[in-house]
Amino acid sequence: MTVVPAQTGGGGGSSGLYDVLELVLDRGLVIDAFVRVSLVGIEILKIDVRVVVASVDTYLRFAEACNRLDLEAGPRKSPGLPDLVGEITESGARGKSKGALSGAAETISDAFKQAREEGQGEERPRPRRSTSARKREE
């Protein structure tokens, strides 16, 4: 893959393709005299997350996540926390959004999904907490 040269540096890494394909599809020069192939179904990136976050369901899940926090742990003491916290937070903070977005998201062509998997496959393993890894897989 020539997409992501190593110049992003030591911790650089990259979840790669998905992020780049967004640019390929959404930016770049457009010339009126040329036709563009139909991109129906993959214009998913412009949905405003704020609309989704402000819902009762989200609040309740945030509350649940808070209630599972270890209050004695400092803000940086994350690695030792049980996975459960992360899981709940995921399904809370992001889960709702995912639900609301899924209609659009499911129409992403295989292109994006496959690209994303491919990007991950080629990504060098990083010392990430399991919660974030899970999030990216969603």
Binding site: M1, L23, L25
Partner: protein
């Protein structure tokens, strides 16, 4: 046969990709169309072209290859001209404009930066810095979870705090990276990230840029920062939508 267009370069570009495959299955061979001082990187356009992974990748690979050797104006994916002569006509018609853009972008690359919160770390951080929120959590726990309304209030406060931290971090990220860039283009928002910035960086300043990203990763451990680049300058092909870095600095400061 219609013509798929990947990008525009100067005809003096030292290494235009000619031995590559482009979009289509099997890949259509890349060809170079020249018109005066300009050249277009093209191939035949396959029937029924759709934004499939393979084709998106091919588009990007061809441009990446071309941009490695010199200045290129990348087309958006899926630009199809009726035939070769339609392409060279456009090159001739707008030659001055494209030459100006190629010169403006010479020696510069795009980096796309997306940042998101580590949800767990961010909740810890928000609670630690907000006594009221912490008190609500403790009260709720003592009351065996609290009433529906209690939980709603707690959740709303936590969600709000996380969201303002998202905005704060987005502004800060931009402020920290902007000095290394010549222009910034803000990408669309989504649930996947709290900041989506494309930065136009001089090749000479690339090291500085990468170092700035590393610095942010260290100083903001609750942020996950993803960097893609160097890329062809997709977000900077037209002068309009992207703002010069200097003027955006002041905007970002006001936002704080």
């Amino acid at each position: 046969m219609s013509t798929y267009v990947y990008g525009i370069a100067a005809s003096s570009h030292p290494s235009l990709p000619e031995d590559m495959g482009g979009v289509g299955d099997p890949p259509c061979p890349i060809r170079i169309l020249k018109a005066g001082e300009l050249a277009a990187i093209v191939s035949d356009a396959p029937e029924g072209l759709r934004p499939k992974r393979r084709d998106l990748l091919a588009h990007q690979s061809v441009l990446s290859e071309a941009a490695g050797g010199g200045s290129v104006l990348p087309m958006r994916f899926g630009s199809v001209a009726p035939d070769d002569s339609a392409v060279t006509e456009v090159l001739a018609e707008r030659a001055e404009h494209y030459r100006e853009r190629l010169t403006a972008l010479a020696g510069r690359v795009e980096y796309n930066v997306k940042a998101s919160h580590d949800q767990e770390a961010v909740l810890q951080r928000v609670v630690a810095g907000n006594p009221e929120l912490r008190a609500l959590i403790e009260a709720g726990r003592q009351a065996g979870g609290g009433s529906y309304d209690d939980r709603l209030r707690l959740g709303e406060m936590a969600a709000g705090a996380v969201q303002s931290l998202e905005e704060e971090d987005a502004a800060e990220l931009r402020n920290l990276l902007e000095p290394t860039a010549e222009a910034v283009s803000v990408g669309p928002e989504s649930t996947g990230w709290l900041a989506n910035l494309s930065l136009l960086v001089s090749r000479d300043a690339a090291e500085e840029f990468v170092a700035a990203v590393e610095e942010i990763r260290k100083s903001h451990p609750h942020l996950e920062v993803r960097v893609n680049g160097p890329l062809p300058p997709y977000s900077f092909v037209e002068p309009g939508p992207a703002e010069p870095a200097a003027s955006t600095t002041s905007t970002a400061t006001h936002e704080e």
